[in-house]
Subunit: 406 residues, 2 copies
């Protein structure tokens, strides 16, 4: 403990060594949280107690502490911290809001609801003097949010980016290594539990966009909404594309990218080519990589499992331990500054496979001087350097076109 | 702030928003710390004040706060935290010890002194109720020590490893990309400031060993001394080796490796081959990569600049901010458990280039059934699976042999 001297600015912090917890959701992640807390493997000084856990129906109540009435948690004065792992936006939004108004801290793994209501939750937490923590919502067990918060205490962060979605990375890296086409690969991902029955949120880039919203909002101290982010998923990719990329020593990954320049930001989500010798190309299966660039720290990259029961549950328990420890965040108060969006910041050359309507695609690409890639059995083009959002706009009406930044 | 309830275990923590700092050493890193503090770019809530800085001679005193008398810092009651960035073991050891006995926190970037006196410093910090922090001693600005501390709050860490030395990585990756031999590469590294005039500590593996001592001691809650770690550097590598590795799709890196198994640990430092598609092979120039494996978190990897003025100064200021924030570490108290060393845990097959004395080398390798690699213009062998320390022992008398784990 640092010595306290009479002539210095001294404050008193009252803290506890224990935490009473309510759990909203008892699925894969929720059960993992229960297991980690019950296992008591974390140091005994942190006395975590699971008071109540919300399940969906009376039939699912198999243990004493389970309930299907959310108010048993939200209205329970004993509970100090609510862990929200239900997923989805409603009623998660209503439950989180109510819990904070009732003076409870929130720890959540729910990227969709955080991305949709980030600014509201931050304000609610301040107004009600509670903590709002969301490490588990981005990157599972990778200490990404915490590292952003830490870097931001000293540095100006000017860039965040990464392979932030395990499902699409599993599909792309498996297509590459097994030389199989998209549909077969998606089915295998679904069978193995890496993709959901309805895979749209992953393969159309919604999930990764939510993670970029959270990461860039935190990094740039401004709530950046998902709807300003040009987003292209991997639905239209074909083994033909992958084979061509391999022939030029490249790997394709679904990549999220946000940059701050002269007080303005820009973001994009799109398939992106990486040199075979880059860290990004070395990310296989459902792994993730996150990068940040800070003015004094330089570039830092973080690799790990971006999802899964125990990594995500681990991140949740870490957040709870930080709340117990006081969570005295020294970063800029988030959302206190408001940079504007300037799409011109993010540019690139693009690979475009035309799909069934070459003529119309070429017409749309005219401003970007497309040149045909020779010696391919299909129609594909490379554009000149373009503002990324312009490429997204030009090609958005074509359902069967695939494009990737080179 | 979590609500405090009357029926719970409540403690009071007295903290301050400011810190008065003494700086031991005003070289590259020390000046970076001064600049970061003077720049006031970190949030104003953390009021850092540099009271005194130690330089070597009266001639170096160019600013008011400089002194060449260490007691102006060590005996100065106003100073609460001492930042030690002198390097070397003596008098750094004496200064650190004296400062802690005088009730001052220590933040250090000096891996040599921490590796040599880790247990003593931890005890001294506890006895004197001060903080002892050393993030900057390993991996520059990469938040590696902090991530280990955090992971350890919940997880059993069973492995730490990495490319922990930028100088050797600069040499190896440059030999590979530029196809030039060791001596030329070392000279270029010295000219560019990546290697010191006397490069022994880097190229013989002493620097990376110090970092493995610190990382594994923290991860395994036991002080692991450097002298139990089999250590092979890169002094004997030749462009012939690099070219052979490239021909089989591999890159060589100087790699540190520590594992915990059934309550015992083992460590090793040696040139190690990585597949061209691995994250380790993607680490170029003076970058570092650190890996940990935790039972619930899985594998995490951290990439960044492992040295340099601003990344290292950044890590030092982060440590100071953590001390101000209370640094309420929830991990196992380090060195409370004492696993024994069991070298048998770490095994591998080895590439061995015989150097000038093939017959004697083959004799020494007999227990490991060496088989000659065909079609090379020099004598090189691959061993059967062996306990790593046995290979190190068998080959330690040969000054010109190069070996690497496959």
């Amino acid at each position: 403990m640092p010595k306290v001297r009479a002539n210095l600015n001294v404050k008193v912090w009252i803290y506890k060594d224990s935490m009473k917890i309510g759990l909203l959701g008892c699925g894969t992640i929720g059960y993992g949280v229960y297991e980690l807390i019950a296992s008591k493997r974390y140091p005994s000084s942190s006395n975590l107690e699971l008071v109540k856990a919300l399940v969906k129906t009376p039939e699912e109540i198999t243990m004493d502490f389970m309930t299907n009435n959310p108010d048993d948690i939200l209205e329970n004065d004993e509970i100090e911290t609510v862990v929200e792992v239900m997923g989805g936006i409603h009623p998660a939004y209503e439950f989180i809001s109510k819990a904070m108004k009732k003076g409870k801290n929130i720890v959540t793994a729910n990227k969709a609801v955080v991305a949709a209501y980030f600014d509201e939750f931050v304000d609610l937490a301040m107004d009600n003097h509670v903590k709002f923590r969301y490490e588990a919502s981005v990157g599972g067990g990778i200490p990404w949010i915490n590292s952003l918060r830490q870097a931001q205490r000293i540095d100006n962060i000017t860039s965040v980016s990464g392979i932030m979605n395990g499902t699409t990375n599993y599909i792309l890296s498996t297509m590459e290594s097994e030389k199989i086409d998209f549909d077969i690969c998606l089915k295998s991902a679904q069978q193995k539990g890496y993709a959901e029955a309805n895979p749209a949120a992953d393969i159309d880039g919604i999930d990764i966009r939510n993670k970029l919203v959270i990461s860039s909002s935190l990094a740039f101290s401004s709530y950046i909404k998902g709807d300003v982010i040009p987003t292209k998923g991997i639905r239209n990719i074909s083994i033909m594309d992958i084979e061509y990329f391999a022939s030029i020593g490249k790997s394709v990954r679904l990549y999220a990218d946000a940059r701050l320049e002269n007080g303005c930001f820009a973001c994009r989500i799109e398939p992106t080519l990486f040199d075979g010798t880059s860290p990004e190309a070395s990310i296989y299966m459902n792994n993730n990589i996150f990068s940040l660039y800070g003015e004094t720290i330089g570039e830092l990259k973080f690799i790990g499992q971006g999802a899964g029961r125990y990594p995500t549950a681990n991140a949740i328990v870490q957040d709870i331990l930080d709340i117990i420890a006081g969570d005295r965040y020294f970063g800029r108060e988030i959302f206190s500054e408001h940079p504007a969006c300037n799409h011109d910041i993010l540019k690139g050359k693009y690979y475009v496979r035309a799909g069934g309507n070459t003529e119309k695609v070429l017409e749309a690409l005219k401003p970007f001087s497309p040149s045909k890639i020779p010696c391919l059995s299909f129609d594909a083009y490379v554009t000149s350097e373009a503002v990324s959002v312009d490429i997204h706009e030009a090609l958005k009406e074509f359902d069967d076109v695939f494009f990737a930044r080179i």
